[in-house]
């Protein structure tokens, strides 16, 4: 881990006004929505209104988009790597910086939402939901950050957003198409093994979900004998594989000082 790379990443984010504005909107959006909900219905006052942990993915998206690609585009990566730092260290530092910052933002957001709920209804102050929500956000931030760092290492500039959109589109297309495949598979059971096709379809779907939404439910994670192996293994695989691929791609790439 390189402290200087982390700090530079955070400073660079601060310098980008568009991102700061988007971050503020993302932060205030749920609070405004819950305030309106409280004004509209009195029963909202005694509930701990917290946004979904999925919000953490959006915070990560803000922090991680173009995190390496922009340095490649600007040519600053060549300058950074002229220092005594390995590409592996650089990538892991970028991943940690993004994951940590996004986690902090996501936790701040849920903390503010919780405090507002607790002010309205003091008995909610020690509600365990906020702890679970916070934990799930941190997991999501670091998982999503690894995937976005990988995408960013493949291209220059903000083209990683296009890759992400393409990936999401492929998932949407597959989800829509999968049902037809299932239907054909079941309808022609005498020709093909329909169960095999269905299982295969589910497998691909799980792969998409594990990459786009690396979610580990809190209560399942800490439920003793009910330890959910699947989501935890998927999360660790996603992080290590994305970082490994990212390092491998960058170590096999030539960097120039000129922008492409």
């Amino acid at each position: 881990m390189n402290r200087a790379v982390c700090i530079t990443t955070w400073r660079e984010f601060k310098a980008n006004k568009v991102r700061v504005i988007l971050l503020t909107l993302l932060f205030l959006g749920p609070i405004v929505m819950f305030t309106l909900q409280r004004c509209g219905s009195p029963e909202g006052l005694n509930r701990d209104l917290l946004s979904h942990p999925l919000m953490a993915s959006f915070f990560t998206l803000l922090w991680a988009s173009g995190v390496i690609g922009r340095e490649v585009q600007n040519g600053t990566i060549a300058l950074v790597l002229a220092r005594p730092i390995t590409i592996a260290n650089y990538v892991i530092s970028k991943w940690f910086a993004v994951g940590f910052a996004a986690s902090l933002c996501a936790l701040e957001a849920v903390f503010c939402e919780h405090i507002i709920s607790a002010v309205n209804c003091p008995s909610l102050l020690w509600a365990p939901e906020v702890l679970a929500n916070g934990f799930e956000r941190v997991i999501l931030c670091f998982g999503t950050a690894a995937f976005l760092v990988f995408l960013s290492s493949l291209v220059s500039g903000l083209k990683d957003l296009a890759l992400l959109a393409g990936f999401g589109f492929a998932f949407a297309l597959y989800s829509a198409f999968a049902h037809t495949v299932y239907g054909i598979a079941v309808g022609t059971a005498h020709l093909v093994d329909s169960t095999f096709a269905l299982h295969l379809g589910r497998l691909v779907e799980n792969l998409f979900v594990a990459i786009l939404f690396p979610y580990v439910p809190f209560s399942v994670f800490f439920s003793g004998n009910l330890f959910a192996y699947g989501p935890v293994i998927s999360l660790l695989t996603l992080i290590t594989c994305c970082l490994s691929f990212s390092i491998w791609v960058l170590t096999h790439r030539e960097f120039s000082y000129a922008a492409d």
Partner: protein, 387 residues
Amino acid sequence: MQPTKSKGTRYQPKGLYLAASILLVCSAFYNIGDQFFEEWCDKFTNSLSGESPIHWRENTAALAEAKRTSKPILYAFLTKHDTASLQMYGEGFHDPKVAELINQSFVPVRVDYNPRDYNHNVALSSKLQNQYGYHQSCELLAVPAHMTDLTGNDIESSANLSEASIDNTAGLEAGDRYNYKYNNRYRGFSRNDGLGFLNNSPKFVGYTNKRDLLDFLYESQHWHRLPPTKGKVAWQPLALATAPLNTKPRLIAFVDNAGAASDNMRLETFWTAKDYKFINKEFEPVLVEFRHGDDAFNKPLDELKAKYGITSLPALVIESRQLAAPLVQFGHSNSSSTREFLEAGVKKTSAVEGVESVHFTVVNGVHVWRKKYRLVGAPGRHIHSGP
């Protein structure tokens, strides 16, 4: 001069690559095994397995036990690979307070559903789905001991004022029972997202938290144990039902203490000011109340039912000296329909011409009300045929 041991810029972290490879293999093994060798993998990965502090029963044994002990059956519909079900099972059911309450006050039955069971071989799950019509992947349903043969609509329905959230102290009339403000203001567990303890329902949908679950269990153990309302009709003693007719026409109302149709009749016709005032003015009203599933209690009343050819509940019978045969309405649709039946009955007893040919059909010696409404609870349209 000693060479420095610093790593090159393009240093390959073999440890990370190795860890990634191992995890990738594990993940692939897990996911492929989970899809194609499910039974074997279940030994290690099925999160709904393992020891449970709740003493689960088989459905058949539970039905018998519920009848014997009068405890409600708690059906826990859990879906494999479903997050809410995992949370319900892992966090909710493993909580000592929740487990103790369920073991003490309910007869718990676990209904597992596997979405990958593409042939839908789970007989109990399908059977209960048909009967109770649950739709969620994770759901709790408390079925009172005397209502195990009824449908989900009947179980959710209640004619008890407290359960129906009617603020009787404020003198509210029918219609106000849908006053959600009352419910939302005084009962903190209502939610807008359709999860948790739903208003006035023995259902708990999805999983929210332990506090909501405990609220639900405390409330649902008493569901349908309180008597349903008789409305504001000035009911005459039951003995009058078999006594000779007086000058005023007699209205005999046959109702059950369970079932959506009977509940609606109690809350709409017997509770609405316009209707009960009309009944009190025009009729000698007699209420014949049955207890669902209590054969010993119902036996003396069955003769009265047989006299008018009533096969299902609720039903209304109008008798009068002016009528050659009694007028009968089977079932109940809404207060307007019943009101029209009562008004038509009054006109007919007053010998107004043309009424019988339009609204009544003679079936087995009685004039059966055949108005335009579809009557819920009429013969052939109800899952049970009455006690």
